[in-house]
Symmetry: D2
Subunit: 406 residues, 4 copies
Amino acid sequence: MGAVETQVPETLSPSALDELVERVEQFIHDVVVPREPTPGESLPEAVRAELQAAARSAGVFAPHVPQRWGGLGLPISQWPRVFEAAGRSPIGPTALNCMAPDEGNMHMLSEIATEEQKRRFLAPLASGEVNSCFGMSEPHPGAGSDPSQLRTTAERTQDGWVIRGEKRFSSGANVASYMIVMARTQEEGGGEAAATMFLVPMEAGGMSIPRQIHTVDRAIGGGHPHVRLEEVQVGDDAVLGEPHEGFRYAQVRLGPARLTHCMRWLGLASRAQEIALDRANRREIFGAALADQGIAQTMIADSEIDLETSRALIQRTADLLVTDPKAGSKLSSVAKVHCSEAVFRVIDRAIQLCGGDGVSDDLPLAQYLNEVRPFRIYDGSSETHRWAIARRAAARQRRRAEEVSR
Amino acid sequence: MGAVETQVPETLSPSALDELVERVEQFIHDVVVPREPTPGESLPEAVRAELQAAARSAGVFAPHVPQRWGGLGLPISQWPRVFEAAGRSPIGPTALNCMAPDEGNMHMLSEIATEEQKRRFLAPLASGEVNSCFGMSEPHPGAGSDPSQLRTTAERTQDGWVIRGEKRFSSGANVASYMIVMARTQEEGGGEAAATMFLVPMEAGGMSIPRQIHTVDRAIGGGHPHVRLEEVQVGDDAVLGEPHEGFRYAQVRLGPARLTHCMRWLGLASRAQEIALDRANRREIFGAALADQGIAQTMIADSEIDLETSRALIQRTADLLVTDPKAGSKLSSVAKVHCSEAVFRVIDRAIQLCGGDGVSDDLPLAQYLNEVRPFRIYDGSSETHRWAIARRAAARQRRRAEEVSR
Amino acid sequence: MGAVETQVPETLSPSALDELVERVEQFIHDVVVPREPTPGESLPEAVRAELQAAARSAGVFAPHVPQRWGGLGLPISQWPRVFEAAGRSPIGPTALNCMAPDEGNMHMLSEIATEEQKRRFLAPLASGEVNSCFGMSEPHPGAGSDPSQLRTTAERTQDGWVIRGEKRFSSGANVASYMIVMARTQEEGGGEAAATMFLVPMEAGGMSIPRQIHTVDRAIGGGHPHVRLEEVQVGDDAVLGEPHEGFRYAQVRLGPARLTHCMRWLGLASRAQEIALDRANRREIFGAALADQGIAQTMIADSEIDLETSRALIQRTADLLVTDPKAGSKLSSVAKVHCSEAVFRVIDRAIQLCGGDGVSDDLPLAQYLNEVRPFRIYDGSSETHRWAIARRAAARQRRRAEEVSR
Amino acid sequence: MGAVETQVPETLSPSALDELVERVEQFIHDVVVPREPTPGESLPEAVRAELQAAARSAGVFAPHVPQRWGGLGLPISQWPRVFEAAGRSPIGPTALNCMAPDEGNMHMLSEIATEEQKRRFLAPLASGEVNSCFGMSEPHPGAGSDPSQLRTTAERTQDGWVIRGEKRFSSGANVASYMIVMARTQEEGGGEAAATMFLVPMEAGGMSIPRQIHTVDRAIGGGHPHVRLEEVQVGDDAVLGEPHEGFRYAQVRLGPARLTHCMRWLGLASRAQEIALDRANRREIFGAALADQGIAQTMIADSEIDLETSRALIQRTADLLVTDPKAGSKLSSVAKVHCSEAVFRVIDRAIQLCGGDGVSDDLPLAQYLNEVRPFRIYDGSSETHRWAIARRAAARQRRRAEEVSR
């Protein structure tokens, strides 16, 4: 394995964390929200750079990145409130440089990459100089929800590897400098199917973007295109960490990456709820403030419940990812399903509470709904996770039954 | 009241209806679907005209319009299957000239207008020569879900009326030739607040479109803009039917109009289910066809249940609108809430079943979701209807309790 | 096959049906409700006989039974409103002799049995002299939701058959005079597994009830015990209809039997809604009638929607069972899932609306919930039906895809 | 106010807590489960005493009670896992003497009572010698969900107070030694309506139980009867804490009491899920283990999600009750609604997964459903809490809007 990141994260005191969260909220409110693009539009590159500079000045930049690479160095257990605060704007996480897929890549690189790889790939990513992407999903019948179906291969050559395959939903590929490519490799002496991760510059020979895919979301810059790898030749130093450890590394990325999505979208859902409450407080209907109308109250309360259950489960999972990463990763499946569905419901109710304005560009809510809709699909669809959750529950009970019967 | 439409609708025999439905399905499949605009785009005017001509040739044009005005003259009880078949394409109802708001206006005109008004306003609308719009909703705090809040007024002058006010969500206004305007009027000798409907050409002096509103749907041509009426002068012949009968006439329009929305969107939901089933049938995942996977099966079955309950309730309401219009209008509230929510769920599940493709432009499903999302809001939001349904249920029970206690 | 029932059912005119439904409602209200046992208790046999006599006098007895056997002879399409009216009391269907399992057995006998069998088995059942039961479900791993697992066998002997096996959830067996037994039989010359139905008196040698099963419901008299068949010998005249046609006959029973459950329980759910509305109308909370409180209104409206969708779907399925029995049987799966879940929700909401009283014996609602809870399981669980519905939908789409591709 | 409980709770180390939780689970499994009464039956008093003695020996008795009164003295933040483990049997909390209403009363007494009152009322309650009850709810139109409607009054006399009124749903009153009575009192010099809590022996003159109320649950011993207070005379020493502080004290009790219900019922829901998983693991259906069937998997996963969200929210609320009791009390409303509905769903799904057995006495699941059904009503119904949650959310947003506008 690559150099283990031995630097211990800086755990903030409760009051320091409170203060940081407030600072992020203030920054989002004062600096980021006024620069939000109109619904359906993407964030211009210049504004992105400007906002990141402002975030750096405000001391809120890259909260998840180790301090030696320019971040705040928070442990995962302290990300939830900070990321939620950032997520209150669809472009907030980009401003703080903690947006997917870069954020997950930074995390994985800081955990797994060699020192040299960190300097070359992590440093410019952490500073916001470059973007990255992650190449896991493949066109049918390759690896979609089921990573074992991986069809992209990396074959050993005398002086490195040659990679062949095609990736899809390669979020951010259009603006990325490099892709972390997951490819099937063959361990010496046969053995089970293995996978290796490679750091491949987008400008490497054989890399191309044959096809853009337009999806309903806009918050992840650089689209979600197909990326083709035709006889892409890389050296041994392109192997992220150790060869044949790709499936294990993927877990290092996936658990936290799933959860940070939850954190960010929870922020957006909170904002949606506030937009709805603002309107409910001001708007009279049938002779009373809408907020006092019971039918609205049911919806408002249901959204509060969705927000608080999500918040509690995210924090619990983040804590567990620190104390028991394996259990934390399992719980992140539960969190992912619950939160992705809860934030959708919250935004959907907010639209409903705002009536006609809710589906118009007068309010950003309909766009928010489009932003979060894909979250129930990417990073493992709700159905794939439910399947995994059910299987784990059944297995757990089989073990328990065996213990008792012994 | 205007001339009562005495012409009895042409009730088709069961087999003739079967044949018509099949013809519409075929027409949609062969002629309309190939001309669908890409997701997010609107239908060009030229294509619209071409499709309507084709529909006329195919004998499927204007199924709801009396034969003397060029339609098929079906009674409401025979609309459901025909409209559902048309709705299988987002542009199908436009091709058959049975799309909102025109379709509801045609229905109301043929029920209420004077012979002269029918010639002038209904005839060109029924033939597809012109478009129309309906001006009921107003900017807050005017008439939204609560028509009694009407702020647009029409004042009697010596030789007619002068109308002042502002309408919003005036669907289709950008391409309409005239608007049916709902305005508050004062009956002679005081009395309760009344409303009158006026037929006002969009080119009349004082009519303007001060503001476009962009919403997430595209299927209703001509957008949903604001329309301002500044000292608009009209003659007595602009009064649709009789003065001060606006609220009653609105009911004539609203019940059926709500229900035809249900019919059309049910068609789109059916199409979404088929797209999902097609994919489920072809796509292997975890070693079996997705359609055989139980988690997918739950979703498929839930959508079937949503489709069948909607279908049954629509037909029942349509039958009732013929035999007992008042009861039919009440039941149309129930149908509207159920169907608007059911079709949203069906399309949402279809997206989920199609995974990443579902949220991309490779499939039209994400756009379908945006098409039907506003339906839970317009024509009375789910909440407004729930409120009305609950109040009616409580009142019904009060009457029953009184009967028993007597 | 046995004598086909050629007698055409007496289809009532709309007004005659209205009148009958009103008569049943009146009978239930005036005669049956006052005799309802306290929650959790069963109906005494004497009261049952008395109520059936009263029903006969009132002209509402056995609405589904052909007139020559003493019933009203209504076609299935006219059962829904009558059965719903009867179901307004948990003992109403028993009073009208249209309760499960007898009602389903009467229907099957009148469709399939020989003239001799009708005289011997249908006549006394239709008149309420005796009870019957239906032996299909078996203890695990026999036939539960999956009839093809049938383990009870009938072997041909020289002068008849010998039946061996065990049945469970044999509703009504404790008070039944005979059981219609489903047993696996072997067609001559091999062939696929077949099943045959037998009419077996409970007093036949080898019949025993080894075990009572207590379930949460009370409305079906005679419990749901196990029934053991040890070397039960019957003659050829015990074969219901023709041998080896059991699976087909089962369908004759299952479709309508499922639907009549829906009708009856819909009546109980309607009553629950009325109990809740009565209380909501009378009870003040937070300074306003509970019925005017929006949170209550949401629940009331949701129950109205559940009731109306169920009602519409039941009627549609009943109509279809007359015009296209195969399609009707398929749709009855959808109706069964929807209605069994809808009535549970309606009663559950009624409890909630009644607060503490709702879970106490002051009101019958908690018992109603227990009455309908098993309905989501028996006659095919919601999950089994969802599985079947999804498979049929997928197959339908495969056929459609093939047609198009040709 | 009475003597403040200054004794700091004994916070266990993480590993000591793990060990305790395991000990409780073991105790429940080995000692308590074998003594569970058959479904629908109550726990005999002798068995209760025996189990409590065993719990004391096992070192798991009264985990929430301060050590000086014989308990384990855990802080609220360490109750969740212990109470959940106890709740895995419906009689587990009684065995550990942490069942409602006694547990909530112990908590309130140890927080509020004078030293003398603790000796007289808390000590025997904590040791399991006596039972208690809490008199808050009143028959309509008194205090139900709305405490301000309190109709029971306490009037000052020369040497104490005289209490008049009627309470209902006085859980445990049949076996209680005393009731903590909430009564309306008048502060000197007028002022707002106030309330005072009184410690009243059930044998005091004027106390009677005029009416039993039978509800569907059995786990709370001593039923939920009405209690009448006719001219009940008590001394000043019967005032719990200070006079006129009843509403504030009620909050001290209600927040934690709500949450401990959540903890205990979560245990029962976990047990239900395990019963279902056990069966799903063993039972073959359609040729595969039910647990592998996707439709079952959806249900199993949904229950896991319900369990984990509940667990996370309970722990978060318990932590908050320690660090910020006011915020904790507010969040307990959210937890109460979510958990009461989640545990009902989990048990309901478990029944469904177990098919016919699920609604029979072969399994305890149907009884579990009856146990938890009232939890959505008592301690504030879901609707009352939703109303409060929505109002708090709206008020929070109003404050935020004002801050921004300043």
